[in-house]
């Protein structure tokens, strides 16, 4: 270890004075990781502004702040942005940056392919947003059900840019997933057997394989939709022998695994953060890794729980209901394992740990409402209502985003050499945590009270006004928290406390190199002596406890 740290200063990340063009032609996994995260943060600004306008419009009944045409584009692009242009790029960015470091490799398996996948992803995102310049954004919801998304009912070019953008973006994601999977399978350092992989790497591997199963279905669906819209095909046109339900099947065959594609890396980050700040190894490593594989398999057989109201035969509904309920078991294993990791530990409530614990506390709720949506008759009642909006944000915001924040506070010092401010971090956490629950908890009741999703307004006589106003106020609080986060990023990047190589006294290989790491990551190829190689080095007398 001392050899690595001592010689850190010999290396400079890039020769001084090299123009910014270096970012354009970089094939370094860490720089590409930073590019991905930068892309995610860039689109996060758009996605957040869209969300803010949506909440302002819904604050009071029969509001006329935005017209319905714009509103439909806003909620469509909000969903597309947050899923494809924020969550995926940030998570893929983390994977890119961290996986070679965590497995003791110099780079990913295919560095140039890695650059290609980033630039494709970005191009796809820009294409989707170009629709607004070209005359109007997509306006049929992020899952774009035909016939509404057919040219007959969506006459502009918004849906065409949605198709082209997501196809290109998806190609980038597929290429990136191949890269990650091959890297994990082939480039592990000596001693790092599959059963010693850090859990973040385990879950990234499952995510990558899931991408390879799910994303081609999205590509196929998009090609069919484009053929219907522009080439006179009739895949989804019931008036010409097509069937709009086919789109729903193919889209959700992608769409539901997508939820696990984005939540698994977040699970992985939390699985790294909680042990380090509990000063204990993860509780039940094998069960956590195994349950991720189980989630991977189950997640491709649950898609039709999005379609219980479609009128499928009972036998199909029961199958998808059972499979969807089953997925609660491996998910529950994780929640209990994280909690058990904390029990008996020596907890340090850094901002990273706060977000990790906030993640568990919030995600449990999203998981349980998820089970209710797997139960066919309950789903008949709450599907397509604000209950689903609440559930999905508990999973995607309370789960994925809280997980990302935990990971960011944890690994930011490795990536930049500087710590994020803990003081601003606490403001960030508490404002976002309280604001989040104020925003989304009331939406469960709105859904049960009968408020459908995707309405640009609601009549005053529905009585949905007060809870909507509360939800909007929550969004204001959450927005203040996000501002604290942005301040923290800006301030800490320039003047944050210097971190050193291993600020958290952690156990995985990335903490054995400098912060930020040298271009080739390690001076010598590290050797993994156990699941926690740095524990072994720090406690040679207690190696049996590793």
């Amino acid at each position: 270890m001392s050899a690595t740290t001592a010689s850190t200063t010999l290396w400079v990340r890039r020769p001084a004075g090299l123009p910014a063009a270096g970012w354009l032609r970089t094939v370094d996994h860490k720089e590409i990781g930073v590019l991905y995260m930068g892309m995610g943060l860039f689109f996060l600004v758009f996605g957040s502004v869209e969300a803010a306008i949506i909440r302002l419009q819904l604050a009071v009944p029969e509001n006329r702040l935005v017209d319905p045409q714009l509103y439909d584009q806003l909620f469509t692009i909000h969903g597309v942005t947050m899923i494809f242009l924020v969550a995926i790029p940030i998570l893929v960015g983390f994977m890119n940056y961290l996986i070679p470091l965590m497995i003791g490799a110099r780079d990913v398996a295919f560095p140039r392919l890695n650059a290609l996948s980033f630039w494709l992803s970005l191009l796809g995102g820009l294409l989707v947003y170009f629709s607004f310049v070209a005359g109007g954004g997509p306006d049929a919801g992020w899952f774009a059900y035909p016939p509404l998304s057919d040219r007959t009912y969506s006459t502009g070019t918004g849906l065409d840019y949605y198709v082209l953008g997501l196809a290109v973006n998806g190609a980038g994601t597929i290429v990136g997933a191949i890269n990650i999977a091959v890297t994990v399978l082939l480039l592990r350092c000596p001693g790092l057997s599959i059963s010693r992989l850090p859990l973040f790497v385990w879950m990234s591997l499952v995510t990558s394989l899931l991408i390879l199963v799910a994303y081609p279905a999205l590509s196929a669906a998009l090609v069919m939709l484009f053929a219907d819209r522009r080439l006179g095909a009739h895949f989804f046109d019931a008036t010409a022998g097509g069937d709009p339900i086919i789109w729903q099947h193919v889209f959700w065959f992608f769409g539901h695994p997508e939820v696990y594609i984005v939540i698994l890396p977040a699970f992985g980050m939390v699985s790294e953060v909680i042990p380090v700040f509990s000063r204990k190894p993860i509780f039940g490593y094998r069960f956590i890794a195994g349950s991720s594989v189980a989630i991977g398999f189950l997640s491709v057989s649950v898609w039709a729980h999005h379609m219980f109201a479609v009128g499928l035969p009972d036998a199909e509904n029961l199958f998808f209901s059972a499979a969807s309920m089953l997925i609660a078991v491996p998910t529950g294993i994780k929640v209990l394992a994280w909690t058990a990791t904390m029990v008996g530990g020596r907890l340090r409530f850094t901002t990273a740990m706060l977000f990790a614990v906030g993640f568990i506390a919030t995600f449990v709720m999203g998981g349980l409402t998820g089970v209710s949506l797997a139960i066919v008759p309950i789903d008949w009642y709450v599907t397509d209502s604000y209950y689903v909006v609440a559930h999905m944000h508990y999973v995607l915001f309370g789960g994925v985003v809280f997980g990302i924040f935990a990971g960011l506070y944890y690994w930011f010092p490795k990536m930049t050499g500087r710590l994020l401010s803990e003081r601003l971090g606490k403001w960030h956490f508490w404002l976002v945590f309280v604001g989040f629950h104020l925003t989304f908890l009331p939406q469960h009741w709105l859904g049960i009270a009968g408020m459908p999703r995707r309405v640009f307004t609601y009549a005053a006589d529905t009585g949905w006004g007060p809870l909507n106003l509360l939800s909007t106020l929550g969004a204001v609080v959450m927005g203040a928290g996000i501002l604290a986060f942005v301040c923290n990023l800006v301030v800490s990047l320039r003047a944050g406390e210097l971190a050193g190589d291993d600020p958290w006294d952690a156990w995985t290989l990335e903490w054995s190199t400098s912060s930020p790491p040298i271009p080739e990551n390690f001076l010598q190829v590290p050797v993994a002596t156990s699941k926690r190689p740095l524990w072994d080095r720090k406690h040679p007398d207690r190696a049996h406890e590793a």
Binding site: K280, A309, G344, L347, V376, P377, G450
Partner: protein
């Protein structure tokens, strides 16, 4: 017999209670650990515990058992409220509900005479009816929360929904599947009424329009000579188009434009003067009419009881 909503509510209560216990359990464990095991409270290094196989098997197996119980309960509820629920006997009558951008069409094929209405679904209370759900353009979803769950209306497919109201009254709902620009203003009123009231309503709706007199007769001329008649039907006249709501008994309905406005003279006049002001994106255009023609038209439509 209970409504679907009550059956679903009963199931949700059981599932909700189980979920609540799990929720409280996990949150309590988290809060307790966060308080009990703070580094500042406990001295010395943490014991390095890697797991406990028995415990892990237990928390895999117990949820499986709980879910199996929930699954069985669910199947029971589905049998009770399913579209083809034979337990409740055959439905007393069929009603065809067709979703349009952005209004509802209801037809009563089992009744004598042609009965077509819009946005206001009349059913007999305490009687199961079978809704046949179809779509005219895009996917819609029929949902009246107080009566139960939702079922989609999908082009090229006929779905069924068993509808049962256990007391007379007006039940509100609205389209639940995003269907375009005016999705938010595609409301439904289900009017459940006693058998006698319902039969009287059917008889009234089966009749053609009452021949208008005076200003209303002038209004009918305005109606037939303008584009109104290219989308709407008024039975008893030459207007037979089906693109828009059937207006034969418009004045008997409670609202206009699928719940946007109350159905009174002032609202009717305002709506006819500029539909796009109240329902932007609606397929009903603004028809330029003189004040006199507009008054006559309002008088005519107001006479269609």
């Amino acid at each position: 017999m209970r409504t679907s909503a009550e059956a679903i509510g009963g199931l949700a209560l059981v599932v909700g209670a189980i979920a609540f216990l799990i929720f409280i359990g996990v949150e309590a464990a988290l809060l307790y650990s966060a308080w009990r095991y703070r580094a500042s409270r406990v001295a010395g290094p943490a014991p390095q515990i890697h797991g406990n196989t028995r415990l892990e098997i237990a928390w895999t197996a117990i949820p499986l058992v709980v879910l199996a119980v929930v699954f069985v309960l669910m199947v029971g509820t589905m049998r009770e409220i399913g579209a083809t629920a034979s337990a409740n006997g055959p439905a007393a009558m069929r009603i065809v509900a067709r979703g349009h951008q952005w209004w509802w069409e209801f037809r009563y094929p089992d009744a004598s005479g042609e009965i077509v209405t819009a946005n206001e679904l009349h059913i007999p209370s305490n009687t199961a009816v079978d809704l046949e759900l179809v779509a005219a353009d895009v996917v819609h979803s029929f949902w009246v929360p107080e009566l139960g769950g939702k079922t989609d209306m999908i082009p090229g497919k006929t779905n069924h929904l068993r509808l049962y109201a256990d007391h007379a009254g007006v039940y509100r709902g609205q389209c639940a599947e995003f269907c375009g620009i005016e999705h938010a203003w595609m409301r439904i009123s289900v009017v459940a009424e006693s058998a006698g009231d319902f039969q009287r309503w059917l008889a009234g709706q089966a009749a053609a329009r009452a021949a208008p007199g005076g200003t209303a007769a002038e209004g009918e001329r305005v109606f037939l000579q303008n584009v109104c008649a290219s989308c709407h039907a008024v039975r008893g006249t030459d207007a037979k188009a089906v693109a828009g709501p059937d207006l034969t008994h418009l004045a008997s309905r409670r609202t206009l434009a699928a719940g946007v406005l109350p159905n009174d003279t002032a609202s009717l006049r305002a709506w006819l003067f500029d539909p796009q002001r109240y329902k932007p994106g609606s397929l009903m255009p603004r028809v330029p009419l003189s004040d006199a023609d507009l008054d006559a038209l309002v008088s005519y439509l107001g006479s269609l009881r």
